[in-house]
């Protein structure tokens, strides 16, 4: 009885002061547990988009695009579910004078207009972007295969990586093996809507099963290189160059 009274006394004295600490501790434990169940890359299926000539649907092109929120029974995130985290803020890339350059170790360097990039087989697939900040977004991406673009330029044998340059100066790289084996796309639409400027218009790399810092937005140049030690913008600050969701987030861990 006395023991119980003593505990009661202690609790009464402490509850005001320490309830905040206990709550904070609970939050921390919860956060730690949540962090343990890291993201799992899901298999993405590529679908060829049926070819529709723009002139064949003049009415459709005049209507305002509506975002797709469900695809083949799968719920999609909204295009507004992204957090703005570009190194220099959203970029406003004008198509006037825009060229997607393919340079470096290629037989014939290319400088393609927006329409020229789109003038090839188009694909769509649902892929989840996982950001290192902890959020993710599942989106129906529509775009062209990087492999098709690279094939047009003719990749030299010694090239092993593709370095993506963005309009804001951001860079990141992907190995050519990864690009080829995973049908990596250069997207121009998300959820059926043309990429908004803040989401990477005109083109964004859809680097599935890689962390978000590999998904370069506002792509202006693809440079083929043989430099295996190349580090992109965030990679040069310590993020892993592989960027695999299943691997370590940081270099040397």
């Amino acid at each position: 009885m006395r023991e119980m009274m003593r505990m009661d006394d202690v609790w009464r004295r402490m509850k005001g002061k320490y309830v905040v600490v206990v709550l904070l501790t609970g939050l921390l434990v919860g956060a730690a547990l949540a962090a343990c169940g890291g993201p799992e890359p899901g298999p993405a299926e590529v679908t060829v988009v049926p070819e529709v000539s723009p002139s064949a649907s003049p009415v459709a092109s005049e209507l305002e695009a509506v975002e797709v929120r469900q695809y083949q029974g799968e719920d999609l995130s909204s295009i507004d579910d992204f957090r703005e985290n570009a190194i220099a803020g959203p970029q406003d890339v004008s198509l006037e004078g825009y060229r997607l350059e393919i340079t470096g170790l290629v037989d014939s360097p290319l400088a393609l207009t927006y329409d020229q990039v789109l003038d090839r087989k188009q694909y769509e697939k649902v892929v989840t972007l996982h950001c290192v900040e902890g959020w993710d977004a599942t989106i129906l991406w529509e775009g062209v295969l990087l492999e098709d673009l690279l094939e047009q330029a003719g990749v030299e044998d010694e090239a092993i990586i593709a370095i993506f340059h963005a309009a804001d100066g951001y860079t990141s790289s992907l190995t050519l093996d990864y690009v080829r084996e995973n049908d990596i796309m250069l997207a121009y639409k998300m959820n059926g809507v043309t990429l908004p400027p803040e989401r990477g218009f005109p083109f964004q790399v859809v680097a599935e099963s890689k962390w978000g810092y590999k998904w370069v937005k506002w792509v202006t140049e693809i440079e083929l290189s043989a430099d295996a030690d190349y580090r992109g913008y965030w990679e040069s600050y310590g993020y892993n160059s592989d960027g695999d969701l299943s691997g370590s987030m940081f270099e040397g861990q």
Partner: protein, 99 residues
């Protein structure tokens, strides 16, 4: 030989030390957290020292120590209060005996 009051004071001081350490770690965790999500602001404020990648790495490193220090602080506080409460009770018992 240390008496009960001295031991209680020592426990309180150690607990207080852990409390301040926990507070500092908590503030550091918040700063590095902002350094991840609001990296442009934090990077500018810290003269590029805390960029996103550095913040992220430090944020990971500080998680466990913060948890351990906070729990230790709470544990010591509970223990200290129990000791103090017991001491007071024994004192009352002494009073009763004298009374």
């Amino acid at each position: 030989m240390l008496n009960r009051r001295t031991v209680g004071r020592m426990i309180r001081n150690v607990g207080r030390g852990f409390g301040w350490t926990a507070l500092l770690l908590l503030l550091f965790t918040m700063l590095t957290g902002y350094g991840i999500s609001q990296f442009r602001i934090v990077s500018g404020l810290t003269f590029e020292i805390l960029n996103k990648a550095v913040s992220h790495r430090l944020h990971h490193y500080v998680e466990i120590p913060l948890l351990v220090v906070t729990l230790t602080h709470v544990g010591i506080a509970v223990w200290g209060r129990l000791v103090a409460s017991r001491g007071k009770e024994l004192g009352h018992e002494g009073d009763d005996a004298h009374g």
